[in-house]
């Protein structure tokens, strides 16, 4: 019995991790989907993972089906978000590279300054002449 319960949990976990994004809309769908699986569990408690895939479909197919049928305005919003994320990531990378270059240049000029102004040691020998 315990093993069977795990099959349902495992199946739901497989579906959950198959989502490429998991925003509010996906959370809503996953909750409703989980409720359906739990309904099925109440009727068929001995079902295996393959039974569940036969009844509800493979996780990948469920996700593909969901995104194929989802509201096109939500889909556009995801595309926009992905675009902004790409721009932000690229900006952060460029900023980090530029910062590293500027910092390296700053330390290099400090080093150069130190090298040119280095105090040279000088040895002075004083001879005392005997009178």
């Amino acid at each position: 019995m315990f093993k069977k319960r795990n099959d349902f949990d495992q199946y739901l976990k497989n579906v959950r991790i198959s989502f490429p994004v998991f925003h509010k809309a996906e959370r809503r769908f996953f909750q409703d989907f989980s409720a359906n699986v739990r309904e099925y569990q109440a009727i068929h408690p001995m079902s295996t993972l393959s039974d569940l895939e036969e009844e509800f479909g493979r996780p990948k197919d469920i996700i593909m089906d969901y995104f194929y049928n989802m509201n096109s305005s939500s889909y556009l919003l995801y595309m926009k978000r992905a675009r902004y994320l790409r721009i932000i990531t690229a900006s952060v990378i460029i900023f980090l590279i530029a910062g590293t270059i500027i910092e390296s240049y700053f330390y290099y000029t400090l080093y150069k300054e130190w090298a040119t102004n280095e105090i040279k040691s000088e040895q002075t020998v004083i001879y005392y002449l005997d009178e």
Binding site: D32, A35, E39, D65
Partner: protein
């Protein structure tokens, strides 16, 4: 000429959902079971297709949803058809019939053509 959206797959799903909801309030899993049962196993509506259509209908105010506690742990979301949904269903049925007759005409014409070429 206005663009005809009758060929959209989503319209057919919405029509099936509304058609069932016009007889009784249902929860998601019940809907998919009824569609399978009423179509004698010919139509199976996976959750990935069913829920986006349900959410769209709810967002457009054509159906409403209500959470009901069943037993100790189980909560079901029941869907109920609103009067606007009924009008929309009639419109979808009209579009579907028009599309169906259009497709049938094309098939009849091409069948005739086939026979002619064979003769």
């Amino acid at each position: 000429m206005a663009r005809n959206d009758s060929l959209r797959r989503g319209n057919n799903i919405e029509m099936l959902i509304l058609s069932i909801l016009s007889t009784e309030d249902c929860y998601g899993y019940q809907l998919s079971l009824l569609i399978k049962d009423y179509s004698q196993g010919k139509i199976s509506l996976p959750e990935g297709s069913l829920y986006p259509a349900l959410y769209k209908l709810v967002d457009n105010g054509l159906i409403s949803d209500e959470k009901r506690q069943v037993g100790k742990r189980l909560t079901r979301v029941y869907y109920h058809m609103e009067p606007e949904g009924k009008d929309y269903l009639n419109q979808l049925i009209e579009e579907y019939n028009s599309l169906h007759s259009g497709i049938q005409s094309i098939l009849n014409k091409t069948k005739e053509g086939d026979e002619l070429t064979h003769v």
